[in-house]
Symmetry: C2
Subunit: 331 residues, 2 copies
Amino acid sequence: MFRTLLAVLAVCVLAGATTQATAQADALPSWNEGPAKARILAFVQAVTEPGGKSHVPPADRIAVFDNDGTLWSEQPAYFQLMFAIDRVKALAPRHPEWKTQQPFKAVLDGDMKALAASGEKGLLQLVMATHAGMTSEEFDATVRQWLATAKHPTLKRPYTELVFQPMLELLAYLRAQGFRTYIVSGGGVEFLRVFAQERYGIPPEQVIGSSIKTKYELRDGKPAIVRLAEIDFIDDKAGKPVGIHKFIGKRPIAAFGNSDGDFQMLEWTTSGPGPSLGVIVRHDDAAREFAYDRNSSIGRLARGLDEAPARGWTVLSVRSDWKQVYPAAAR
Amino acid sequence: MFRTLLAVLAVCVLAGATTQATAQADALPSWNEGPAKARILAFVQAVTEPGGKSHVPPADRIAVFDNDGTLWSEQPAYFQLMFAIDRVKALAPRHPEWKTQQPFKAVLDGDMKALAASGEKGLLQLVMATHAGMTSEEFDATVRQWLATAKHPTLKRPYTELVFQPMLELLAYLRAQGFRTYIVSGGGVEFLRVFAQERYGIPPEQVIGSSIKTKYELRDGKPAIVRLAEIDFIDDKAGKPVGIHKFIGKRPIAAFGNSDGDFQMLEWTTSGPGPSLGVIVRHDDAAREFAYDRNSSIGRLARGLDEAPARGWTVLSVRSDWKQVYPAAAR
């Protein structure tokens, strides 16, 4: 019986050892060793160390992430715009007037130059025609269906496979360290919520984004949330700290972005009284992903690059900091 | 050694028994035995029973609570209105014009009839004069200071002591059963967030309420969220399901309210495909709290009373369902 007890003890010791080994295993295997990875690990270590002078209680460990260009790719155009374009094509038979009406004509002709020329007003018309007028459940189903079937024009993979593997690891790592991870995106909140849980492990209530107004009404006696063709909130630039304040009511301690649309979010996050972390993803890898910054119409990054050093923000390079960009293809 | 093993086993069995005994202890000691308590316990039991046919996974266990009249009292006027009135008095020296200008004159004269006569427009003016124009941090400090010093006009206790003890127990019980508890209030979200964590155990990101617009700007080079004199969102009546959808993105499974302002929230919650619970607090205890329903200008409850039976909603009586209304006074 003594041996039995010894065996039990041995199992306990081994279990402990295994746990420890797991904890010490590399939580960010797709990140190359370098200043970006080191900075992130050091920050997390500092704020989670019990009794440490930079310790932050779990309730205040809030990390915010831009989505387009930070958690998944955004070239040659925002993926949500690709969705809107596909929806215009699908809905065109019901709208014969679109054949001659901009910006719809441009979409149907595949004329991206004319589409770009329609500007913000054209984009808004496109969004309203494809994102409003249905219930939230109908919209959810449409996005779900599109994500399951659409493919990226050049990379030929489903959009949900074009998320960044190193960022998936980072999200999981932060959550394992007691953080809550939020998306704070210029993209549409209801579009994002369809896949955020499954792809990022981020539940709907932790997704903040741009939104159109909605209305509660009975449709055939059944309660429904109906999407209206009216802007409610633009979660971009100075709108990001506003959205964070509105939805979370607390200042984050870590912010991750990639464009000047994230500047104020990083500024707000890193100007709090305690320890904080600001990270910018720099897209400089034309071979594995895309390369763009100061002169890009999508994801323009100029002020962030200029001011990052003085502000203590980390600029990570896709080319040199990430071993792998996308997850292995689903089989 | 066999005895040692037996002892270990005994300890395990006893530990199990203790856990079970704890689980069976009364989680709602301030509730009288009766149909309301029985209905709540049966619902929670059904949705949490592993493998049960009504089981709901923890991620979907969302319970929403109105605040005024559901979690704390709301007579003789919403407590936030009392705050606005006190603020007008405090700010009056800086606004000599208020002596002759309604609704401010009514407040300064203590003329509640004239104040009521100023209607919704007057109320809005009052809110904007007292809730806008400062940073969110300044507003937070002002509310905190007021809550620490102001007392209810007839009950002579701090407002934060006028929360309902049975509801505090219910909030804690639901959370212990894997629920997330949200406030969904017609009151101001930033006002509520000041005390929701401490009094209700509800963190800022789980408080949904009415809001004014805010703006991100640098004040003396320091980033700040500034409160603007413009309505952003009214979280009342049909606005409550809209607010729930906007902030949570999921339909709750349990809703608690007390007035017709909560009707649509209960309707939305209890028309989902799975199990759900709708509860209305009926204020019928003039001796211990207040008694009002169909004819009250504050917390009017008529349609809810009429339709509750057919909709399967539980109407609880403060007089007969609650052993105790408020927590024992803080010493």
